[in-house]
């Protein structure tokens, strides 16, 4: 096997040094009843070439562009990824290192993640951002737990328009600990009914997503004010980071804690993972943050350098009292996002975001002008909801044309039967959209 450097002679010599007479005997300490009493039943080892062949075959069963035109977003977004991002992130010094416990030999990762934290903070409008979490949903759950720790209150309010899957992950995290989650209803407009909080109290936090799951841009400012009125922490988040190329960032609109998914920032969709959990907050929450943080410092010669810091929040020091159980995070995805953000720069990022909106606006107009019902008229970024007339089986017909025209909302919002969440990014051409419309009305 090409991954094994051991020759027969090596093994013999090493066994002699150890004083064992065979490889098996190295396990003689293991009680008989613990041993596996059969050979593992796994496929016969494949050569590199058989594997390539096998994987090409498997992947052929996947619908991806350009073969398919896919208009689904809902938490994963198809954005262009520059060749530079793909090649730089593969530098083996980045890829095959681990958590930078030993800073002197890990300055590459450390500076890169410190820069990620800084750019992410500018994107989200907060003072501090963690080195990464698994994804937007766990970042959301950790945000709620932060608020609970901070306030000592065990109730949180969450907009029903936060990504339904994020809310389910939050439930998984919060329920066993007995933390109660109140749901804020949605208005006709497709926005969160923040008034539902009127007069309520003893809430650790109120959490809102904008653009929300239906693509509508929430009034974070108002929600933040309401939330602060009732003495709760205001948590705001996003699934589409590109939106904040044009939108005012959550921090500037009053969010105390900001969570989000960073997959849009140069990370491939990869069937849903790995993505990038982004989590930040105002500085008073710094020591309450879960997960890794990189800090700037100096070496004994006064040269600037970077280290993992505030470790006393973490499991390897605080164990059960830690602010989270997270250890390995999604560092390589944070690196990727940093390269991506650095490549775009402010102007590029803004232009790209506008383009996403322009394209979505175009398609939405097309639907409107062809008489489709658009349930919500709030402002949106690059996703919106359209209703396909009852019984016309438009969705199925489009599938046959290798078009996936969006995500059916029925299972998430039963009241929205026949409604589809449609996403458009800079990768969607006008031709793609015109073709979608053509087929939809044909």
């Amino acid at each position: 096997m090409r991954y094994f450097p051991h020759t027969k002679e090596d093994i013999q010599q090493m066994l002699e040094v150890i004083g064992a007479d065979s490889l098996e005997s190295l396990f003689s300490c293991i009680p008989e009843e613990c041993l596996m009493n059969h050979e593992m039943n796994l496929p016969f080892a494949m050569s590199e070439w058989e594997l390539n062949h096998h994987m090409d075959d498997l992947s052929a069963g996947m619908a991806v562009s350009p073969g398919y035109r896919i208009f689904i977003g809902a938490g994963r977004y198809d954005h262009y990824i520059p060749a530079t991002v793909s090649s730089l992130k593969m530098r083996s010094e980045f890829l095959t290192a681990y958590t930078p416990y030993q800073p002197e030999i890990s300055q590459g990762t450390l500076q890169a993640i410190y820069e990620y934290q800084s750019l992410a903070a500018r994107l989200m409008g907060v003072d501090v951002v963690t080195a990464s979490h698994y994804d937007g949903a766990t970042a959301f759950a950790e945000a709620l737990l932060m608020a609970v720790r901070k306030t000592g209150l065990r109730r949180v309010a969450v907009s029903r328009l936060v990504h339904p899957l994020y809310r389910r992950v939050a439930r998984t995290y919060l329920e066993p600990a007995g933390i109660e989650i109140k749901e804020l209803p949605m208005l006709e407009s497709g926005l969160t009914d923040i008034s539902a909080m009127d007069g309520s109290k003893d809430f650790a936090a109120v959490a809102i997503q904008s653009p929300n799951f239906l693509g509508c841009i929430e009034d974070l400012k108002k929600a933040g004010e309401k939330t602060h009125e009732i003495g709760a922490l205001f948590i705001a988040g996003f699934t589409e980071a590109i939106a904040y190329g044009v939108l005012k960032n959550p921090g500037s609109l009053g969010a105390d804690i900001v969570f989000g998914e960073g997959q849009s920032l140069g990370i491939p969709m990869a069937f849903g993972g790995p993505g990038l959990g982004m989590l930040g907050a105002t500085s008073e929450h710094t020591r309450n943050l879960p997960g890794r943080l990189i800090g700037k410092t100096m070496d004994i010669d006064g040269r600037p350098g970077f280290v993992l810091t505030l470790a006393t929040r973490e499991q390897h020091i605080r164990r059960e009292k830690a602010t989270s159980n997270i250890c390995t995070n999604n560092s390589h995805c944070a690196l990727t996002a940093a390269i991506y953000m650095a490549s775009l720069g402010r102007s590029g990022f803004r232009e790209l975001a506008s383009l996403n909106h322009d394209k979505a606006a175009y398609l939405r107009k097309q639907f409107a002008s062809h008489g489709f019902r658009l349930p919500f008229d709030s402002l949106f970024f690059n996703e919106f909801v359209v209703e396909f007339p009852e019984g016309e089986a438009i969705y199925e017909r489009l599938l046959d044309k290798k078009i996936v025209p969006g995500l059916s909302l029925f299972s998430y919002y039963p009241e929205l039967s026949n409604c589809y969440l449609i996403c458009v990014t800079e990768t969607t051409s006008k031709d793609d959209m015109d073709m979608l419309i053509r087929e939809a009305i044909s």
């Binding site: 530079t84 681990y98 600990a177 044009v246 390995t328 490549s343």
Partner: protein
Amino acid sequence: MNESLGASGLILNEKLLWEKGKKGRCGFSIPKSDVPSSPLHPDLTGDGPDFPELSEVDVVRHYTRLSTWNFGVDTGMYPLGSCTMKYSPKTNERQAGIPGFSSSHPLLPAALCQGALRLMAELEIFLAEITGMDAVSLQPGAGAHGELAGILIVHAFLKQRGLSRSRIIIPDTAHGTNPASAALCGYKPVSVKSNPEGILAPEDIAAVMDEDTAGIMLTNPNTIGLFEDNIAEIAEIVHAKGGLVYADGANMNAVMGIVDMGRIGVDVLHLNLHKTFSSPHGGGGPGSGPVCVKKHLEPFLPIPRIILKDDGKFEFSEDFPDSVGKLLTFHGHFGVMVRAYSYILSMGADGLKTASRLAVLNANYLKERLKDTFHLAYDRPCMHESVFSDRNQQATKISTLDIAKRLMDYGYHPPTIYFPLVVPGALMIEPTETESKEDLDQFVYAMKQIAEEAAKTPGVLKEAPVRCKVRRLDEATAARKPCLTG
């Protein structure tokens, strides 16, 4: 051999991104617009995040330079105990990069993503086979997440039986994520000392296991690199009191095809695909921490789960009412799964078993070659790693930290230090199976050189490292006056 592997070479300094950027540059190819512009309402819009602006070459050089300040497994030996820093095969990157996988949307209709579903379904079966467990969920995003999944399952199982218990047994050798994960489910960890042999004694477990205890979270092989010989008996004790046995499988690399976790009384276990199954560690992740259970716990696995329909097609199903729910937005770290799947297919049953044997061979070889020089915490045959300490260096006040820093000058990433906590000044060395005898011999040479320096010229160690881009960093100030963004 008589020359140090580490040397000094030319590297380039590099400013921070925002010190480097200048307004008016862009390293991204902005697509041309083919639609009319429709600006958002000005009340909503800002002028974009304050990102530095760089040209493409600026970006390329920035990250190329940064990378040269790093050390990876492709650079050299990285014996970071408990982290299984084995070589990550390049072909796995090729597989993960196939557009059908890397560009696929997680919410595709089942008919349009059979390839990914089959891959995941098969990987679940492989992992069940390798561990001896009955069912697997690939959803957890890393080891700690797998622990959380496991403890949630324990919690849900007991709850269903109307049992609400407040405590859980966790050995003092456990990784920090164990108590932290338990705490997330509201369990209070009960710490149990390992015996003089470095493993758990049944009587110690019996002494604390009771009807208010959900069970035990143990790591096998444990973090001292020893096999928990009494696991079967311990499991009986725990089960007798209605508790469950959770095994942290982060060290599975020692026992693939050798130990049957299902047979020894483990009810639930997590794996680290980024360790045992060779996916690259990425500077700290992403990982993947599948959770494996015995039949009786299968109903509680996270959803959605992949099911094979009668028509031979796969699909996701949510129809598991007892499930602990969802742990990630979608289906887990699929990209990491592709790598682990490729690895298992490349290795086969024999290959995986051989990997474990050679990993244990390498660890024992290092143990034997080094134990006369460095104090060995537990002088017993070890599994994938062994734990030394700085006890022999006390005379000259040389600490484990000094030894670790000096190793860098010799061209090695240091081992895990000061863990496990039960060994003061621990030096936890896990070579993995992908290091050759020559590599190990050279490492031994470096360690002995360092021991000699520690005795004769301790100052050299206190000054170390001297070859890296920076010298020892002031971590105290970093924590006291945190500067976390620029």
